[in-house]
Symmetry: C2
Subunit: 125 residues, 2 copies
């Protein structure tokens, strides 16, 4: 579990955690039924309060991405292969591109930007 948190970011920590875990699953670092580090363990490791972690994991659970068993731990759901993690991101991209269009951005500019990201070894955050 390699979770990077920007403590000075505008986006809440629990949102960052949710995203990082989704990314880990997408990358295959976390697979079905894999057990996550315990909340207290993560809390110590990341210096984040257990309540904040709990919130993130609870929301992931209500999204069906993880499941938890009291006394045992938190695990990755096994129906994530069919899951579309990109849905939200695509929605966000869509909104941004619409704004860019309204601001006069040319389609080629945006395409070029995307090609650069996919061709280049640009670090993903």
């Amino acid at each position: 579990m390699n979770i990077l948190i920007d403590y000075h970011s505008r986006t809440p920590i629990y949102e960052q955690i949710k995203k990082e875990i989704k990314l880990a699953i997408s990358r295959g670092e976390l697979r079905a039924d894999d057990q996550l580090p315990s909340l207290r363990q993560l809390s110590a490791q990341l210096s984040i309060n257990i309540n904040t972690l709990k919130r993130a994991l609870s929301e992931l659970e209500s999204e069906g991405i993880t499941y938890s068993i009291a006394g045992k731990g938190i695990f990755v759901s096994n129906d994530n292969s069919a899951r579309d993690f990109c849905k939200d991101v695509f929605e966000e991209i869509s909104n941004c591109v619409k704004s860019a269009k309204a601001m006069g951005a040319k389609e080629e500019q945006i395409i070029e930007l995307i090609e650069k990201i996919y061709k280049g070894d640009e670090k993903g955050d």
Copy 2:
């Protein structure tokens, strides 16, 4: 001035206002030295406190997008033709696309999304 505010949005009202004004300038609805409606007028029209509006306009001013004259009003700067309004949006798109890439999205999917937005008559927000 056709400003749409989502009062239940997570993004602050003053941010939405800034964006709407930038859009209006981009679209050519607001041109150099055009006078904006007065703060009190906007406040009444949008049911938004004058302080919130003031914050938005002050930030736009420090970005050089507008200028204000005490007693007269707030006006659109005249160096906006050379301005790159898309900069922030491009930054945002870049981050989103990087996330999408990390989540396994294919380049073609994103390109296709963009083409659809530019070809279609999709409404921009």
